[in-house]
């Protein structure tokens, strides 16, 4: 029996969880049947809320509502400084990291911690639906995410108590969902325009092997930017006296822009009405298309880059898969159609298809299926800084993963015992123009003359696209110490601490849940018993027995008012004990009634 591995799409705007059940794909809804979970966390004095209830508090001045936290994943404060204006919640710069102050609990939360809250909610959803605990998961990320962003997502999963089996690229996941069951062999393009990111991938499908040829993207381009483009135009015609910098105004405009965008995929014109700020206008599809055109064109830059990297012309592509809510925009569909002049696959719900693909990959990793295999690539070149601040590439972009590169290092000075390696990711020539991933120190090198040391360093990018560095002293054959100083994101120690902390929180959460569950059960039982007692006469319930039961009911009701879950449970079973003889007698009478008053032999009655 293999364990179920859940697939999670941790999106900028919405998230979801899916599984393969009896060979079928299934997105797991919440108790109210909703498949998506808004990627929103609300922090207030009354507690921490996740999802719909959090989203509902967006205009509550007493609540900090955190959304689009994915944009902060694995990035430094300096990285996101320009985007902060678009966010309506405060960010603090602490040790170079963008952290969200939670004044109600006297702490700061990182993007992975916000992600962990969302993941934990999805995990709970899956556990309720499956009726069992779930630990193994596949989580998707934009293909163009760098090492730090992938690591941050993995950390988030671990903080949510998940064993993250794979960090999977979103466009690849979508292709897996399309290829699942019905996929035809060929060369496919995936155009994935989500809320905050854009990815484009080319992959061939051949007898169940999904081989990614190239991938490219823009981690700062998504449906949100389309909304902003519309808002930018509206700001020009806003009534005098309306302050556009007020978060409520921005929020109203954002919602209205989103609504207009959706309306214009059906009709050619829509009315825009915001009586709260006295704003009224009409918007035609034509105008909107004109406004978003620069963004549509921007998506085509990575498209051409990926095509050229794979040495493929648009005509060689057999089909284009559209993913992400923003591909519902007609202008986007049109632009993609014009470029490829090929069938466009959009029959899967673009909001669900990534999570479904994650479930397929989860099924592969659980060992349940051997007929499908995914061969993905690393989106960015990996290299080290060499003399003169130049980046020397070790693993070029679009290399199939896993992959390893070996490099020999030595000392420059007599008696040198430490060598520093600066690892970078990116396509630019100068080290400073690329993303610094980490600085590694090779430590405890035996002192010897300059250039005599021979340390072989292996850079591994695993199947998650995450870097691992190991060093070997070639002269002794011993592994060499490597100390990692991550340039971005959080150090391993901090992550470990956060995981510990989140387990404590999980423990607290668990206690709370236990208490609520036991109270509910106790209340149900007491109510049912009291109702039953009212109906029963002394013929079936002697007074002394009634007295005992009533006493126990009072004891239980007192326990329910307390905070001790175990006491509530104990008193509930005590009630069960004292009512058992009565229950048996009742059962007997009802059976007797059913059989026309004939008493049954003891043995048959027990059977």
């Amino acid at each position: 029996m293999t364990r179920t591995v859940i697939g999670i799409d941790l999106g900028t705007t919405n998230s979801l969880v899916a599984i393969i059940e009896n060979g079928k794909l299934r997105v797991i809804p919440d108790t109210e049947g909703r498949k998506l979970l808004p990627s929103v966390v609300a922090l207030s004095s009354s507690g921490v809320q996740v999802g719909f209830s959090a989203k509902a508090r967006i205009n509550d001045p007493e609540t900090v509502v955190v959304y689009s936290a994915k944009r902060l994943m694995g990035r430094s404060f300096a990285d996101v400084e320009n985007e902060i204006r678009q966010l309506a919640y405060p960010l603090a710069n602490i040790d170079g990291l963008p952290l969200i102050p939670d004044q109600y609990r006297n702490r700061h939360l990182s993007a992975p911690q916000i992600g962990a809250l969302i993941l934990a909610e999805l995990r709970k959803r899956a556990e309720v639906a499956l009726g069992q605990t779930v630990t193994d998961a596949v989580i998707t990320v934009p293909a163009y995410f760098n090492d730090a962003q992938r690591q941050a997502t993995k950390d988030a999963g671990e903080m949510a108590g998940l064993n993250v089996l794979r960090i999977l690229n979103e466009p690849t996941a979508a292709a897996l969902a399309y290829g699942f069951g019905t996929g035809k062999d060929g060369l496919y393009a995936v155009y994935d325009l989500g809320g905050g990111t854009f990815d484009f991938s080319l992959l061939s499908i051949r007898r169940g092997v999904f081989e990614v040829k190239s991938t490219s993207g823009d981690t700062h381009l998504g449906g949100d930017d389309f909304d902003q483009a519309i808002i930018a135009q509206w700001l020009k015609i806003l009534p005098k006296g309306v302050d556009p910098s007020r978060p409520e105004v921005r929020d109203l405009l954002r919602k209205e822009a989103e609504k207009a965008k959706i309306a214009l995929s059906q009709s050619t014109e829509t009315t825009v009405s915001l009586p709260a700020i006295g704003f009224e206008t009409t918007l035609s599809r034509e105008s909107m298309n004109k406004w978003v055109e620069p963004l549509v064109q921007r998506t085509l830059i990575p498209v051409h880059k990926a095509l050229s990297d794979a040495g493929v012309s648009p005509g060689e592509v057999d089909g284009v898969i559209l993913v992400g809510g923003a591909t519902r925009l007609l202008r986007v569909k049109e632009a993609v159609g014009e470029l490829f002049n090929r069938p466009v696959f959009d029959e899967h719900d673009p909001d669900l298809v990534v999570g479904e693909g994650a479930a397929v990959q989860g099924d592969i990793l659980s060992g349940a299926r051997k007929d499908m295999l995914l061969l993905d690539v690393t989106p960015l070149s990996l290299g080290i800084e060499t003399m003169g601040g130049v980046m020397s590439s070790l693993i070029p972009r679009n290399t199939t993963i896993p992959t390893q590169a070996k490099e020999l290092f030595t000392t420059f000075l007599d008696g040198q015992v430490k060598v520093d390696i600066h690892v970078l990711q990116g396509e630019r020539e100068m080290a400073k123009d690329n993303r610094s991933l980490a600085r590694f120190s090779l430590t405890d090198i035996a002192p010897m003359t300059a250039g005599a040391a021979r340390i072989e360093v292996t850079f591994t990018i695993d199947a998650n696209g995450i870097l691992d560095v190991r060093a070997l002293d070639q002269r002794t054959g011993h592994s060499q110490g490597v100390v990692v100083h991550p340039s971005y994101g959080i150090s391993k120690d901090t992550v470990r601490e956060m995981i510990k902390e989140s387990f404590q929180h999980a423990q607290e959460d668990f206690q709370t849940r236990m208490l609520i569950d036991s109270r509910t059960e106790a209340t149900t039982v007491t109510n049912a018993t009291r109702r039953a007692l009212e109906k029963l006469g002394p013929d079936i319930l002697p007074d002394d027995e009634r007295l005992v039961i009533n006493k126990q009911l009072d004891t239980l009701e007192k326990a329910v008012k307390g905070e001790n879950a175990k006491l509530i449970r104990d008193e509930t079973s005590a009630l069960d004990q004292v009512t058992r003889p009565l229950a048996e007698r009742l059962m007997n009478t009802s059976v007797q009634g059913a059989l026309g008053g004939k008493a049954l032999p003891e043995t048959e009655m027990e059977a």
């Binding site: 089996l165 060992g367 051997k370 295999l373 995914l374 290399t399 896993p402 390893q404 591994t460 695993d462």
Partner: protein
């Protein structure tokens, strides 16, 4: 005898399985305990993919072999196994990916092929430096292109560069075909019938030329990158 007799360095028989210590019948998988085996040091990219040492390879067969071996080694299929096996899977899959990448590209494949034979034959080492004449030629080409770009004729410069590249690549591919034909012809002969002095000499000449052309192409490509870079910056801004 196998289809390729001249190199069998890595696939030595009588190795033992790391797990059950049984004798290995085949290099990749133990027939007794069905565990994947680490690649031996000497196995080259052709051995890894289970392909004959040929300069010309059918891309369909190459892809098929790559997928077949990926199904054997990919870490996705060894997640639930013990640590040692996961490590073997990671290392093997990495080398397999490298092997495929190298052999898939005809120019990388040719350079790799020559590098396997360069021992005792330094004239065909693809890392050998170009002759002063060649370097001079390239320098001139670069200067001419740069002056074209300087007066705003990027398109023209680029078209010329494209043509130079295509020409050279055509010559390289043709030469590879010829060498392959001579060598595969030699393999079909019986072992006691050695190649004629003439054929050997012709082969050596072609390989020297191939090695030079491959290096020359690298220079052309780096000129291309330099000429192209400002243009792309302009395009995206």
């Amino acid at each position: 005898m196998g289809e390729h007799t001249h190199r069998h360095s890595g696939d030595m028989a009588s190795s033992l399985c790391w797990n059950c210590k049984g004798t290995l019948e085949e290099a990749d998988l133990c027939g007794t305990c069905v565990k994947i085996q680490p690649f031996k040091e000497g196995r080259d990219y052709f051995d890894i993919l289970g392909l004959p040492h040929r300069l010309v390879i059918d891309s369909g067969i190459l892809t098929e072999k790559f997928h077949e071996k990926s199904r054997l080694f990919h870490p996705d299929f060894h997640r639930m196994e013990i640590h040692t096996e996961q490590e073997i899977s990671l290392t093997n899959a990495s080398r397999l990916n490298q092997a495929f990448k190298t052999l898939k590209d005809p120019f990388l494949r040719a350079a790799y092929y020559l590098s396997l034979q360069k021992l005792g034959n330094p004239a065909i080492d693809p890392k050998k430096r170009l002759s002063p004449q060649d370097l001079m030629e390239l320098m001139e080409l670069k200067e001419e292109l740069e002056s074209e770009v300087a007066i705003g004729h990027q398109e023209k410069a680029f078209a010329r560069l494209e043509k130079e590249t295509k020409n050279l690549e055509g010559i390289i591919l043709g030469n590879m075909q010829e060498i392959d034909q001579l060598e595969s012809g030699a393999e079909s002969l019986s072992p006691d019938q050695p190649l004629t002095e003439e054929t050997l000499e012709s082969l050596q000449k072609k390989k020297v030329r191939l090695s030079r052309d491959l290096e020359y192409r690298k220079y052309i490509l780096s000129i291309r990158r330099e000429i192209l870079t400002p243009a792309t910056v302009k395009e995206t801004s």
